[in-house]
């Protein structure tokens, strides 16, 4: 499988598109011509932005990849192990790829060229959980981590000017912190405490499902002081809050991975406005929820803030919601689709698949159109796409 970034495609990975994808193809909803070069750009803006995502090639090597809306692969940064999400500094001059939990490294690179800048190992007794965010001035990087000995979630703090040296940490005020974002006020961090206890020696096995207690925590980015913490009603404690998207006006959208029985259909997305006393869940018809298979792997708001896209790789569905009302808008199908990011066009997202390839997702038409780009189709794209504006 040498030179695997071209040619062999996903045939060596998993041949079949998902069941739902298959049915969609047969029903004609997704049997669209591939978007040729230029189509992605037309749908996704002027194309100067780069999209960053962890990926793997057919030989099982891991990278952080950068590509444009047109499907041109700009670079691949080799990683020692599987990556998860990334953070881009506000000035766009540095990006950080976090290792997949229980992660042992973060890799800082130049998101324009893919040039590798720094690699930082996990601190003693800590592991990366795969997500992070920069401070408003770009001087600090916050990473979600676990303190296994202390049995608590941690936000690790890294100093950019010092080669991302770890300079501090504070509690995330919950177990298993996962996604973490800086609020538009520039002073507050919002953390999705998934609530699940793990042990680095026990792979990724979940150790406390019966007693898990997920939460959404707001922390002061300066000192980690807990500003607010919200949980779902106790009866919904199996709903692990994992992923976040934050709107310019401070609306926080969150996405859930439900740990209960597969046939129990529960709300999997919702919003919170800082200061409000409770989380608001998006109620939806069983038919909508079932397509998500109790599992949302990533979330993104479009550039207008009107639409929230939540991706379920298990259900092979990108569910688009109206962020304000919680109304389901459409659910285009992408087998093993998980990465999703806003483009520069309102209502249009870029999405990716673990079976290979990227897609333009339009809330207006409800379509997911594959982008014709052999280099991107030859890579398995991991959970998250993060945009870096030019």
């Amino acid at each position: 499988m040498g030179g695997a970034d071209r040619g062999s495609g996903t045939g060596a990975v998993v041949p079949a598109l998902g069941r739902r994808r298959l049915l969609a193809l047969l029903a004609g909803t997704a049997a669209l011509p591939l978007a040729g070069r230029g189509v992605g750009r037309a749908a996704a803006g002027d194309g100067r932005a780069l999209f960053l995502s962890a990926c793997a090639d057919a030989a099982g090597r891991f990278f952080a990849g950068g590509f444009d809306a047109d499907g041109a692969l700009a670079y691949r940064v080799p990683l020692a192990d599987r990556g998860h999400s990334l953070a881009v500094a506000p000035d766009g001059e540095v990006a950080v790829q976090f290792a997949r939990r229980p992660g042992r490294f973060l890799v800082a690179f130049d998101p324009a060229s893919g040039a590798r800048l720094h690699e930082v190992a996990n601190a003693e007794g800590r592991r990366f959980n795969g997500h992070g965010a920069f401070s408003a001035d770009g001087a600090l990087l916050y990473a979600s981590e676990n303190d296994f000995e202390g049995d608590r979630g941690i936000v690790g703090v890294y100093e950019r000017a010092a080669g991302f040296r770890r300079v501090g940490e504070f509690a995330s005020h919950g177990l298993g912190p996962h996604d973490l974002r800086l609020m538009p006020d520039g002073r507050t961090l919002v953390v999705a405490n998934g609530g699940i206890r793990t042990d680095p020696e026990l792979s990724r096995i979940k150790l406390n499902i019966p007693t898990m207690a997920p939460s959404l925590a707001y922390l002061d980015a300066r000192d980690g002081r807990l500003l607010d913490r919200l949980a779902l009603p106790e009866a919904q404690h199996l709903a692990s809050i994992r992923h976040l998207a934050v709107r310019a006006d401070g609306l926080v959208a969150f996405a859930i991975q439900y740990q209960g029985p597969k046939g129990e259909l529960v709300p999997l997305a919702g919003t919170h406005r800082p200061g409000e006393p409770a989380l608001r869940l998006f109620a939806a018809e069983p038919a909508v929820l079932r397509q998500l298979d109790n599992y949302i792997g990533s979330a993104a708001l479009d550039c207008s803030g009107r639409y929230l896209a939540t991706a379920s790789p298990r259900g092979g569905t990108i569910q688009v919601w109206e962020a304000e009302s919680g109304r389901p808008v459409c659910a285009p199908e992408i087998a093993d689709g998980c990465g999703v990011a806003a483009t520069e066009v309102p209502g249009v997202f870029l999405a990716s698949s673990g079976l290979g390839g990227t897609f333009v997702v339009e809330a207006g038409s409800g379509r997911a159109t594959p982008i014709a780009a052999p280099a991107l189709q030859a890579l398995r794209w991991d959970h998250h796409i993060v945009r870096r504006d030019a």
């Binding site: 041949p15 069941r19 909803t29 997949r100 049995d151 389901p328 808008v329 673990g354």
Partner: protein, 380 residues
């Protein structure tokens, strides 16, 4: 303004096979040439699903329920007149129940998931020392109200199942004449387990849940399974996850990187010395899921598709050799990890289990046309 609908048209499962050709043509435009897609029909999947429920799932849960009932009786007998013989009989009944659980522990879907039964019956692995601590705390407090049935059902899962029972039967003071409260705790656990396992069997077969029927009647209104292929995917996931648990929870952490770095304290069922027996029983159950038990198993789909003629002999051989190796390891796992003769066998066992896992992930999914993705398989 939004023109897209939230529900989509779907093709009926009956048309599945016929339309597969159309699918392949579309697929060919999306992907470079790969192995031919398997020509399995919805009926093929359905037949295997129904056979696995009838021959594999239900009989194994019945075996567990019967063992749990004998265990409850043995606990009653022991508590009526404690003594060495009856403790021995109780321990034997515990072993049979644990065996029964190891024969179904891979089947983590359906009725066993309801009311957290899976965790209440055998919550493992969980945080170290948790079970022993929780049991000791309960015994020290000796609060009769804590053992009231309704309350106990909602108590920590750590004290409700086989791991707590193991602490009572093999842990501190196990051989001393039991205090009244200790016996009442024993009985509460065993009667709870007998009830739960009885209910699981009942829920597979009838009542409000009737999970056998849920599995056998996939469709748009079925909250669990939309197609027969999706129900087969659930069985496949049980196979894959079962292999993963053996490698990642039962063996690798205990073995560590070397004999010096081994951690016998992490072994499952360490107190009763049944760690390796558990692994053997897990492997036998997974082998049975693949081969079928009287009726067809997943292997029948491999044969039916013909997409990978070498796969079935390979998997049969892999299971056989792996089981032979596992059965041939003499000392208990906790000692074998540091035993110069046995450790290489254990390391080989871990390699073998991982190899089977890789074969089922990379080839079985393809051969029987189940879509398992990079992301959907991962969970995060």
């Amino acid at each position: 303004m939004m023109r897209c609908a939230t529900s989509k048209r779907r093709s009926s499962p009956v048309r599945f096979g016929r339309l597969l050709l159309a699918f392949c043509l579309v697929l060919a435009t999306l992907l470079p040439a790969g192995p031919a897609a398997a020509a399995l029909s919805a009926d093929d999947y359905q037949r295997v699903n129904e056979a696995l429920v009838a021959d594999h799932v239900v009989p194994r849960y019945r075996t567990l329920a019967a063992a749990a009932e004998r265990l409850d009786a043995a606990a009653a007998a022991y508590c009526a007149a404690p003594g060495e013989d009856r403790l021995g009989a109780l321990r034997a009944a515990f072993g049979e129940t644990l065996d029964g659980w190891m024969g179904v522990q891979h089947l983590q879907f359906g009725p066993v998931e309801l009311f957290l039964r899976n965790y209440r019956l055998h919550f493992w692995p969980q945080a170290r020392g948790k079970v022993g601590g929780a049991v000791a705390e309960l015994l020290a407090a000796a609060d009769p109200a804590a053992l009231e049935e309704a309350r106990f059902r909602n108590a920590s899962t750590a004290v409700q199942g086989l791991p707590a029972l193991e602490v009572l039967l093999y842990g501190p003071d196990a051989e001393a004449p039991p205090a009244d409260y200790r016996c009442r705790l024993l009985r509460r656990i065993t009667s709870g387990m007998a009830g739960m396992t009885r209910d699981i069997v009942a829920d597979w077969q009838g009542g409000n849940v009737a999970f056998a029927e849920t599995l056998a009647s996939p469709g748009e209104d079925n909250p669990y399974f939309e197609s027969a292929q999706e129900a087969t995917l659930a069985f496949f996931q049980r196979l894959y996850n079962g292999l993963e648990m053996i490698a990642d929870a039962r063996l690798r952490p205990v073995l560590g990187a070397s004999a010096e770095q081994s951690q016998p304290g992490l072994a499952e069922s360490r107190l009763s010395g049944r760690s390796l027996r558990n692994v053997v029983l897990n492997l036998e159950a997974l082998q049975a899921l693949y081969l079928g038990e009287g009726g067809p198993g997943l292997a029948a789909l491999v044969a039916g598709s013909g997409a990978d003629p070498e796969l079935d002999p390979l998997l049969r051989k892999a299971f056989r050799l792996t089981l032979e190796n596992a059965r041939g390891i003499e000392p208990p796992l906790t000692e074998a990890v540091a035993d110069p003769a046995a450790r290489p066998q254990l390391e080989q066992l871990l390699t073998q289990v991982r190899a089977i896992r890789q074969i089922v992930r990379d080839r079985l999914t393809k051969a029987i046309d189940l879509a398992i993705g990079f992301n959907s398989m991962d969970g995060d």
